[in-house]
Symmetry: C2
Subunit: 332 residues, 2 copies
């Protein structure tokens, strides 16, 4: 204590693991009680998402993938709102300070913070007798009034999703030893791809500007495509018709559907996709597709927004409506 530095466990934990991530001047090296976001005339978009051990990730998941997931579920919201990442604050609730866990956690978090240009601004570490929980509040910037909302989809808009749908639900099924695990027993690469999609989402921040420029409405798909589309439609006061065979699947997911190890209903109501769902006016679709190609993000038109208040319909190849018993994941 001769240095005048208080040597509490919490302070040394922050200094050792998290100070190197606090590269933004507004983080004040994590030496203060608060951070500062400087105004630059843009609106600041704020989103907050927490992940809980045993709920959003599995107790044995590698610390690095937990860190990436905690940040990326928030980055995904920023992307869907058309916002450019500006930074985040972290609340970490842990049972104990375990260096073997914290070191790879902080390192992966730092790598993602750097690659998504979203620096750590501050945080809080607390002890908990229960499961670990990582709560992140992330900030992004959009030109004034340009945040993309759930409200705004109009009849005639195309319903568009990025990437592929259902992989993360299959990955979780594999990690839990479900039907997908058995069906892919001989294919380690496919198993790894799918579990990777559950553990480490690929947020579509590269597409944020295109979403802002072209989408009438957008949100990220986190609780299942069917349920999240219903939310977007409800907020916009519209409905939608989806051509379910158009929903983009990874080759592994398509194979599992063909084998009967899963079905489309499961994939479109599973969670953790972290893809962008948006409503693009027909006249802008070509420009949006081109922008997506330049950004290196696959986009697929899967249906159309229609007038009405009905829950969106998912039609099969013969135009018959699928009956969805569960549209999305809900915590309660």
């Amino acid at each position: 204590m001769a240095s005048g530095k208080p040597a509490s466990g919490e302070d040394s934990l922050i200094a050792r693991y998290f100070r190197p991530l606090a590269t933004d001047p507004g983080a004040f090296r994590l030496d203060d009680d608060a951070a500062a976001l400087k105004p630059d005339g843009s609106d600041i978009v704020v989103t907050t998402d927490a992940i809980v051990e045993g709920v959003h990730y599995l107790p044995g998941d590698p610390p690095g993938t937990i860190a990436r997931k905690a940040l990326r579920v928030n980055l995904s919201d920023l992307a869907a709102k058309g916002a450019t990442p500006a930074g985040f604050v972290l609340t970490l609730a842990l049972r104990t300070v375990d260096d073997d866990w914290l070191k790879p956690f902080a390192q992966a978090l730092g790598e993602d913070a750097a690659s998504f240009n979203c620096p750590l601004l501050g945080g809080d570490t607390v002890s908990t007798p229960g499961p670990a929980m990582i709560s992140i509040t992330a900030f992004g910037r959009v030109p004034r009034g340009k945040m993309v909302h759930r409200v705004g989809a109009r009849p005639g808009d195309r319903v568009v999703v990025t990437g592929t749908i259902g992989d993360a639900a299959l990955g979780l099924d594999i990690l839990k030893g479900g039907a997908a695990a058995a069906a892919l027993a001989g294919d380690a690469a496919a198993r790894e791809m799918l579990t990777g999609r559950y553990r480490v989402p690929q947020p579509r921040n590269a597409l944020a500007t295109a979403v802002r420029d072209h989408a009438h409405a957008a949100m990220d798909v986190s609780d299942g495509l069917a349920g999240d589309l219903a939310k977007l439609c409800a907020a916009s006061g519209v409905s939608a018709v989806i051509d379910t065979p158009s929903v983009p699947l990874s080759p592994a997911a398509a194979r599992l559907v063909a084998q009967g190890a899963t079905n489309l209903e499961t994939l479109i109501s599973g969670g953790d996709d972290y893809e962008i769902l948006c409503a693009i006016p027909e006249a802008r679709f070509e420009a949006f597709e081109q922008a997506a190609r330049r950004a290196g993000v696959a986009v697929t038109s899967i249906g159309t927004i229609i007038a009405g208040a009905a829950t969106p319909s998912f039609l099969d190849a013969r135009g018959k409506e699928l009956v969805l018993t569960r549209r999305s994941f809900s915590h309660f």
Copy 2:
């Protein structure tokens, strides 16, 4: 589902309890995935603090006091940084949806949000198999570059605290049936005052402007005065000498010290005070005191910042240094 509204438990929970609190237009009625903070040229101060059941509050505490504590520990940080509250986002991790708990929780949170002019902007509700946790990220505004830091205290500055110190530590002791409970067995009013100080902090937001106008450095006292002063001094590269008998105590705390049911060491190293600790230059002290009087907040000068890197000294009435075995609360 005919309305087109997805009826998940999580959505109806948010709609029922938290939408009424989302009065700011930037909250978009909690219908979106993110909130927007509008620029007004000021810096946005960001702070985040979580409270965990069984760690920061007791499992049987009334839901209303838990809500107030969760928000107020963050408001206290904003006050110490000289910031005016602008809003907050809430992450609520719960085992179950219990209306008898959520209703008074949301109501008290709404009352505090209104009275501190700090509206709910957004949030996340997640299920947890473990203890409940409430994580809040709060936002405040300060004129550009005017956030008050831990860094900045200079030799000769007065060390000043608001309110009284140690009440919350005694309140916790009472709730746990400790020595203070026995000593105050016949004094329900004193017990209630002290437990109230533990359960519901009184953040000094009324003093924020005065802190911004006059303090060289400031922080809130949350982990114990002795440890927090050591942090402020370490950040500023200075030391301090404190006249321990000057540390302001409530009449109940003073009585417990006189009776030997507690001692000054315990009070200055206890946590949960949520008072402001600041370094005020001698030439500004009178103006600061006057501003505090106008704001209705008691302030007390308890010592002096000195040069050096030694841990701050707490002297007794005879000028002898107290030996502090534990200066503050640490989670790990």
